[in-house]
């Protein structure tokens, strides 16, 4: 098994109370299902949408957001899968796609000496 990081980007629309509740329940169902199948290494954390960006040699500090709203990372999950292909397949159940969001799937580097 290898580890992969899911980064959730965008998917912030559909904000009526009923829609929000339905979407949240879909998220919970999806994460619960991944956990039941033993794919969750770390359920992860939500990230606030605001923050600071520190950059350059001058270590310039600027306010977020850093990108288009649709690109802002809203949270992450560390999962375990056979390979990148399976990790990608598993990500397709994420409800974020219903709201035009994206899941970035990144293999965690392993040190094979």
């Amino acid at each position: 098994m290898s580890e992969f990081l899911y980064l959730y980007r965008g998917g912030e629309d559909g904000r009526t109370p009923e829609r929000l509740q339905v979407m949240m329940q879909k998220w919970m169902t999806w994460l619960k299902d991944l956990a039941a199948k033993g794919h969750i290494k770390d359920q992860g954390q939500p990230l606030e949408r605001r923050g600071k960006l520190v950059s350059g040699r001058q270590k310039t500090v600027t306010d977020g957001p850093f990108a288009e709203v649709k690109d802002v990372v809203g949270g992450y999950t560390l999962i375990e899968a056979r390979d990148l292909e399976q990790a990608v397949e598993l990500s397709k159940g994420c409800p974020i796609f219903e709201l035009d969001g994206a899941v970035e799937v990144r293999p965690v580097q392993t040190l094979n000496l």
Partner: protein, 415 residues
């Protein structure tokens, strides 16, 4: 922890009402934004960490914190609720004041304040109902449009205008002023009655949507009963009428979305808990000298609720109750229902006579069940061609597929 269905919608009403009290009614949009923010925070956290033990309390606490942030941020740019005086201005008084305004009893009053404010006489009844659904029940514009079989644009326009009027009123309705309360109460009754009826008789073909509307109307009426000035005999009668009619909902529209009339409903599917609750409320409505049309309508519903079948129903009593209703609040619809009851107790011939004698029956010209009632009675008299003509007319007037399917079947019965 599982979330109860529509929790967000319900909490939305509570939070907007509480925040509007704090921000002032002219800042309704800000209150809605802050509620949005609270929901988004909840969703972000809960989807990763699960739903907390007491989700409502969590949401309220989040809304309270978001409100404090907004008050601090906007303090110099806006004026907030004038009723609250200068509490906003100092950090010493701000947080305790906001905390207190989020107490459970405060929020009940906030909901009533908002309910009474929505029933502003300068708004049409349709606008009042839409506003109640939107602000107090957390329905989105699309959900309201679906419930009323209206367009998104039309509902949005109606709500935007209504909110503008509400915002200009500068102050929320004062539920502490007894005379004002009693003067506005009938309008509130009417709005809740219309909301319930939209669910019960309305045009939406979705059984779930209709049940939602009925449930919301009942929830708000129950809230009215909790207030000493709101718990009048008429409010009890309204609550009784809602419970007794809602008891029949599971049999009225079956799982396939098929409409069943009182005559062919499976009475074992009536909700007996709601029936006994309704009978209890009806008893409590007898406290005063006042007999409203809600009292009479509830009494009619009670006769049905206690009858084992359509045949074994005390139709004479029902006719007598409709006679009473005709003296309080005459209308062609009431007269039509009375005529149907007459037909049940004295035969179809007499029913047709009564229908023929309805005043202003032209106002029923586009009501499909007027033509359907004529068809039904002609059919019972064996005059199939006449019956068919009426049912065809009724089908042309049907407002949704559910009504059309029901009437189609009646037409088949004429063959």
């Amino acid at each position: 922890m599982e979330l109860s269905e529509h929790l967000f919608r319900r909490e939305s009403g509570r939070m907007v009402a509480a925040l509007t009290r704090i921000f002032g009614v002219h800042n309704l949009a800000l209150a809605e934004d802050v509620v949005q923010e609270a929901f988004c925070r909840a969703v972000e956290v809960w989807k990763f960490r699960g739903v907390p033990e007491n989700p409502s309390a969590w949401l309220m606490a989040t809304a309270r914190n978001c409100a404090l942030d907004a008050l601090r941020r906007e303090r110099t740019a806006r004026t907030f609720a004038p009723e609250l005086g200068r509490l906003h201005e100092s950090e010493w008084t701000l947080a305790p004041a906001v905390h207190q305004l989020f107490g459970p009893n405060e929020i009940k009053d906030d909901l009533l304040r908002m309910m009474f404010s929505c029933c502003n006489p300068r708004l049409s009844e349709e606008a009042q109902v839409a506003l109640i659904l939107h602000i107090l029940c957390g329905f989105s514009v699309d959900e309201i449009a679906a419930a009323f079989v209206s367009s998104h644009a039309a509902v949005e326009k109606r709500i935007t205008r209504a909110k503008r009027l509400l915002g200009r009123s500068r102050k929320l309705f004062d539920v502490g002023a007894a005379a004002d309360f009693s003067a506005r109460l009938p309008a509130v009754h009417t709005a809740l009655y219309l909301l319930f009826n939209e669910g019960y008789h309305g045009a939406s073909p979705e059984a779930a949507v209709r049940a939602d509307l009925c449930r919301e109307a009942m929830r708000l009426t129950a809230l009215l009963l909790e207030h000493p000035l709101g718990a009048t005999p008429t409010t009890y009668a309204l609550a009784a009428l809602m419970s007794l009619n809602a008891a029949r909902l599971p049999a009225r529209i079956d799982t396939d979305g098929r409409l069943n009339t009182l005559f062919d409903q499976d009475r074992s599917r009536w909700d007996q808990e709601l029936v006994s609750e309704g009978l209890d409320l009806l008893e409590r409505s007898a406290g005063g000298s006042e007999v409203s049309d809600y009292h009479v309508e509830a009494a009619i519903a009670a006769v049905h609720a206690e009858a084992p079948s359509a045949e074994d129903t005390d139709w004479r009593k029902i006719v007598a109750l409709y006679d009473m209703l005709m003296t309080i609040h005459p209308s062609p619809i009431v007269a039509l229902n009375r005529a149907i009851a007459v037909a049940q107790s004295e035969g179809p011939e007499r029913g047709l006579e009564e229908i023929g004698a309805i005043d202003h029956s032209d106002r029923l010209a586009t009501y499909p069940f007027y033509a359907a009632a004529l068809g039904e009675l002609e059919l019972r008299l064996g005059r199939r061609d006449e019956a068919r003509r009426h049912f065809e007319h009724a089908i042309a007037l049907a407002r949704n597929p559910m009504e059309r399917r029901f009437l189609d079947q009646r037409l088949v019965a004429c063959a």
